[in-house]
Amino acid sequence: MSSTAVVELEHVSVSFGPVVALEDVTLSVEQGEFLGVVGPNGAGKTTLLEVILGVVKPDSGVVRVFGRSGDEAGGNAHRIGYVPQVSTLDARFPIRVLEVVLMGRYDQIGLGRLPGKQDRLLALDALRSVRMEALEKRPIGQLSSGQRQRVLIARALVGKPELLLLDEPMTGVDASVRETLYDLVNELHREMGLTIILVSHDLSVVSKYVDKVACMNRRLVAHGLPREAVGPEMLAATYGDSAMFFAHGDVPHLVVEPGCLVREMEDGSGEGDPDEEEGH
């Protein structure tokens, strides 16, 4: 693989007891790339992020992030910014916006010490980059979910990461706010040169912004440029046969019956791949 790869996964498999979360996933993300990872619920998208973060160890396969694998990968923690699903946040927790953002620097402040003036300035900078600086003193319970999402992005940015991982950043966010959030992420990508991996089940919107799409259903079904990777066969392989697609614009829209989201997939379902990756 190319030497500029920030993330390299080779034949990575992860199971939780009897549940297979990832199966033989081979994927690489280049520096400065904006990758969208799409797939139905239970497709292993969050697990993929956790493997990259080093929180989940693969049962087999190799994970290399910034060229480091295995035990060395602990040194990567401050180079990765992680934005978990906003729903994992307890919005009733008594805490203000600035304090949440400061948490992103906790690992760089020594034990027994509190954030100092420099940390506060960095946190305000991060808030400014998501346009939330005016609300620094607001308790998080008084924010909309879109604003809360921005706070989480600011927290991930405050550690000055090179790689940003976003897990379903649009879930629970009003449709009207989604576009602005995508614009914001896109801006971070372009202006800061951040490598971004964004996980979503919202295929049509994701494809509009990202450089590359990876379609997953435990296996990597397709990986490539949005208009190449996203075809009817791949959608069927990712989401199951009962999904229906509307083609307008570059990328087909998708309608899926809820009950069919997590389907058993047969081996070789990724054969419809238009290009790359499967051959590694």
């Binding site: 973060l53 080093g54 929180v55 602990g74 923690a77 990765i80 992680y82 978990p84 994992t88 946040l89 307890d90 919005a91 009733r92 927790f93 008594p94 805490i95 203000r96 304090e99 949440v100 948490m103 906790y106 690992d107 402040i109 034990l111 027994g112 010490r113 509190l114 954030p115 308790p139 319970g141 008084q142 924010l143 909309s144 979910s145 927290r155 629970g172």
Partner: protein
């Protein structure tokens, strides 16, 4: 005030204030992490520890402390194995350790154990030695919370991100359980096994209603804990009622005031 002329009353007041403060401090984590049941479980387990101390002839405070730490870590460990849910693990430990205590006390006929005192607290029986234990262990709790302030806040607020930042999340959880066990043990003599979890949860629950930031919640909780201790102690002196129960009921009153005047709005979706 004239009642403070008595040495036992002075000791009682110091002990109550210290315990009110420590319980309220740890209570903040207990309320925000949903550890109320585990706190109650550890408190009941201390009964087994005290009885064991009588049986073997050890220092009661130490045997209760060792036993509670063991039970706290046991609950943490068993539930992390994933074979049973945490509340089930607590339920098992909770009643079995209590049963062990009752069994041992049955074996110790002839001993005159102040059971009622341990179950419901008897602050006026606090000795100078107890006070030193309370001060020493209280300082340990405050020091550990001070040193690990950021880390405990982060694992309480967002364990997922703490894990992603490579913090030792499990170790911090066990640290918190250890602090909870220490807090319970220093408190049982004053408020009793049955009532200690109320003293841990209630001031923090009241502070939760008013506070909009973490550190203010902590300060407020400690203030409510200390106020309840002082007011409850004087009430119990004047009304000649049990001190532990009086302290707990004062804090409950504060809690309902907080609930009624809470500025906490409904969380926006």
């Amino acid at each position: 005030m004239s009642i403070l002329q008595y040495a036992f009353m002075q000791r009682a007041l110091v002990a109550a204030v210290l315990i009110g403060a420590i319980c309220a401090l740890i209570g903040v984590y207990v309320v925000l992490r949903g550890l109320a049941f585990i706190g109650s479980g550890i408190a009941h387990a201390s009964f087994g520890g005290v009885a064991l101390g009588y049986l073997v002839g050890w220092n009661l405070m130490l045997s209760a402390l060792g036993f509670c730490l063991l039970v706290a870590f046991g609950i943490g460990w068993v539930s992390r194995q994933g074979k049973v849910r945490e509340d089930t693990a607590i339920g098992v430990f909770f009643s079995s350790t209590m049963a062990l205590g009752i069994l041992i006390i049955g074996l110790l006929h002839g001993y005159n154990i102040d059971l009622f005192g341990y179950l419901f607290g008897s602050i006026l029986a606090v000795t100078q030695g107890d006070l030193w234990w309370t001060i020493g262990l209280g300082l340990v709790v405050v020091a550990v919370v001070g040193v690990f302030y950021k880390e405990l806040l982060l694992v309480t607020f967002d364990p997922g991100i703490a894990r992603a930042m490579r913090m030792p999340v499990d170790a911090l959880h066990f640290l918190l359980l250890g602090l909870l066990a220490i807090t319970v043990v220093v408190s049982i003599k004053v408020v009793g096994i049955v009532l200690v979890s109320a003293l841990i949860v209630t001031p923090a629950a009241a502070a939760y209603q008013w506070a909009e930031d973490f550190l203010p919640m902590m300060g407020l909780s400690v203030a409510i804990g200390i106020f309840s201790a002082i007011a409850g102690l004087f009430l119990s002196y004047w009304l000649n009622t049990a001190s532990g129960a009086s302290i707990v009921l004062v804090s409950t009153l504060v809690f309902f005031c907080a609930l009624a005047t809470s500025r906490k709005r409904r969380v926006r979706g």
